[in-house]
């Protein structure tokens, strides 16, 4: 996966709690191979009318948001279906980080496995941020090594990330190689536990 270290970009506000992964990418896009890409399916039914015309009211159809790399969402962002395509659609569009008060658990994990940085900030901070972003465009500056995000009002916020996931993101590593370097403990467990039966 592509490493993540530092990112500055216009922030794209996506208001509304419980923005589920069906809305991030509808089910009819899920049969594609990964290498075909999912950018055109991102927020499809919010972004386009039935005839394929852009909906002018949707934020990603307006400047300067079209090239936004940071999304700001509300509580329980990307809840619902485990479809990893939600992460792939955001990445393929160019998004590398999402800020929200909370995320669907499966999406959160899927993001970290693919180089999309999910950042949890307090509800009040995100609320104020969204209000501002819906009034005027603004940039967010994210620094992963120091685990800090600078918001358009100049405020700087620390964020949490699991140290191992941070290491993988900074170096663009996925964890299968690491796990398979730990075959000793896995084999020992299987000896004790029974390889085929529990």
């Amino acid at each position: 996966m592509t490493p993540f270290t530092h990112l500055i970009s216009v922030a794209v506000p996506i208001p509304g709690p419980n923005m589920d992964t069906d809305q991030i990418i509808p089910a009819r896009y899920l049969s594609r191979a990964r290498d075909v890409g999912f950018a055109d399916g991102l927020f499809r039914d919010l972004r386009y009318a039935e005839d394929g015309a852009e909906k002018p009211g949707f934020i990603l159809n307006r400047e300067p948001y079209r090239n936004g790399k940071i999304v700001v969402g509300e509580r329980n962002f990307a809840c619902g279906s485990s479809r990893e395509h939600a992460v792939w659609a955001l990445l393929d569009y160019g998004v590398r980080a999402v800020l929200a008060p909370s995320f669907g658990d499966i999406f959160y994990t899927n993001s970290l496995k693919n180089g999309l940085l999910p950042i949890r900030l307090p509800g009040a901070v995100i609320g104020t941020l969204l209000e501002r972003l819906l009034r005027e465009a603004g940039d967010i500056d994210i620094d992963l090594p120091s685990q800090q995000a600078r918001l358009p009002d100049g405020s700087v916020h620390d964020f949490d990330i699991d140290p191992y996931s941070k290491h993988c993101l900074l170096n663009g590593l996925d964890d299968i190689d690491y796990t398979l370097s730990q075959l000793g403990p896995i084999e020992a467990f299987e000896q004790r536990y029974g390889r085929e039966n529990s």
Partner: protein, 473 residues
């Protein structure tokens, strides 16, 4: 080992599966059972790209369900090439890896979360994964079962393990007796309405209390299935005599002396007296009525005797906007009686509610009645075996004579990946698990409810309190 500290059921399963525990809070858990379906091609592609082999093929089971049309069983005859490709790809991938697959024409074929328990593959005390959020279903057997993404699926296939941070614990206790016409579906909708769609995010739920103990295995599967709709990582019910009676004699369950040993081990899978949960929620069974959803999240659920909420009466700005958005999408006016809402379609099916007990409940309401004029109503059994069982009981005749379409097993109209969708603007009474915007098709409007409630809606053509159509036992 000495466990002086009282432990939860979840603690016990978690600690038994620890392979590596790191200082940074990450634990490598061993996976007993992994399920794959026809939407997980990317997980196999990833393995191929990296030249990884499947470590323990005997611990993974496969079934195509998401892309299988339910109007026939002939893969070559699938109208959409895309559906055919997804199903054939799964067959190729699993055959190459030596993974057992229940193919479309296998009589045991069905929805992955139906057939795992039905075949006895999912058992108490196991860690179970699948690249699908409704994997929480299998927790009904007293297992730790959770949905994962495609990249994690490839990790499980390659290593038979998964990295996890230990989730928090929550116990939801439902005490008392469920009222007439009230089912497990109503219980879980009432729970989600109470705690919210993110109410259990980061938690594993254990369902407890006399009302839960009184549920059949089918009911517990429905309950645990929708744990994810409250945001939970997993949901579980401690195994008991109901669980053992359900599993005994199932094809993949232990046999003979092994069965006796297994039951002995499973009896210890209970939360110890005095064990502490991070959160506790309590509901009174007697307060739960047949539920329907009116909005665009499973938390937007209310007793069928209620009304559509009025945003004007909602003091909280965020919630007010949420109600306004939901009513605009759903095409509903505030304060409309829920029982006055007319519907266009009925879907009885999905991993939530397509088991034999669900079909019996729906057929009992349907018997001797007719589906309302102009309404399209489907029954999609959860597996080939459920379909055969229902036919041996004559349930198919009841549905067909009433005007329902009686179909083959699959996920079908729950999410429409197989092309079976609800038309834009149409309103569907559905026994599935998600009423999200566009879930059943672009512009489709979904009302979630129990199978008996969906059957009642099919007959009257509007959301209906099924209790008015049932004969008390």
């Amino acid at each position: 080992m000495d466990h002086a500290e009282p432990r939860t059921l979840f603690d016990k399963i978690w600690s038994r599966h620890k392979v590596i525990e790191r200082d940074d809070g990450q634990t490598l858990l061993y996976v007993d059972r992994n399920f794959v379906h026809d939407g997980l091609g990317p997980a196999f592609d990833f393995l191929k790209e990296r030249n990884f082999l499947v470590r323990v093929p005997a611990r993974t089971f496969a079934v195509p369900d998401h892309y299988v049309p339910t109007d026939g069983r002939d893969v070559a005859g699938f109208a959409a090439a895309e559906n055919r490709a997804m199903v054939e790809q799964l067959a190729r991938n699993t055959e190459a890896a030596g993974i057992e697959m229940f193919g479309v024409t296998d009589p045991r074929h069905g929805i992955v979360h139906i057939i795992g328990p039905e075949q006895g593959i999912s058992q108490p005390g196991m860690v179970i994964t699948c690249g699908d959020s409704h994997t929480s279903t299998h927790g009904a057997l007293g297992a730790l079962a959770f949905g994962i993404g495609a990249t994690e699926v490839s990790h499980v296939l390659a290593s038979q393990t998964i990295w996890q941070r230990k989730p928090h614990s929550m116990r939801i206790t439902v005490e008392g007796e469920l009222g007439f016409g009230v089912t497990a579906k109503d219980v879980i909708l009432a729970i989600i309405a109470r705690i919210g769609a993110a109410g259990a995010t980061g938690h594993v739920i254990e369902y407890a209390g006399s009302a839960i103990a009184g549920l059949s295995m089918e009911g517990r599967l429905t309950l645990c299935n929708m744990s994810i709709e409250a945001g939970a990582r997993a949901g579980m019910v401690a195994p008991d005599e109901t669980t053992f009676a359900y599993l005994k004699g199932r094809p993949y369950a232990p046999k003979g002396a092994e069965w006796d040993e297994a039951v002995c081990r499973w009896r210890a899978l209970r939360t110890d007296e005095g064990a502490r949960f991070d959160h506790e929620v309590t509901l009174d069974a007697a307060d739960i009525a047949p539920m329907v959803t009116w909005g665009i999240s499973p938390q937007d659920a209310a007793p069928v005797t209620g009304i559509v909420p009025d945003p004007a009466n909602e003091p909280d700005a965020e919630r007010r906007e949420g109600i306004e958005k939901a009513l605009a999408y759903m095409g509903l006016a505030p304060t409309t009686k829920l029982a006055d809402i007319a519907i266009d379609r009925v879907f009885i099916g999905s991993c939530t509610n397509s088991r034999i007990e669900d079909l019996r409940a729906a057929s009992a309401v349907t018997r001797g009645r007719r589906v309302a004029e102009g309404l399209v109503a489907w029954v999609v059994p959860g597996s080939g075996l459920i379909k055969a069982q229902a036919e041996s009981e004559g349930l198919d005749r009841i549905f067909i004579e009433a005007g329902f379409s009686w179909r083959e097993a699959g996920c079908s109209m729950c999410l429409g990946t197989n092309g079976e969708i609800v038309a834009p603007g149409q309103r569907c009474a559905s026994t599935s698990n998600r009423n999200f915007i566009g879930r059943q098709g672009p512009g489709a409007r979904t009302h979630l409810m129990s199978p008996a409630m969906a059957a009642a809606a099919a007959i009257t053509g509007r959301l209906t309190d099924v209790r008015t159509m049932m004969v008390p036992a």
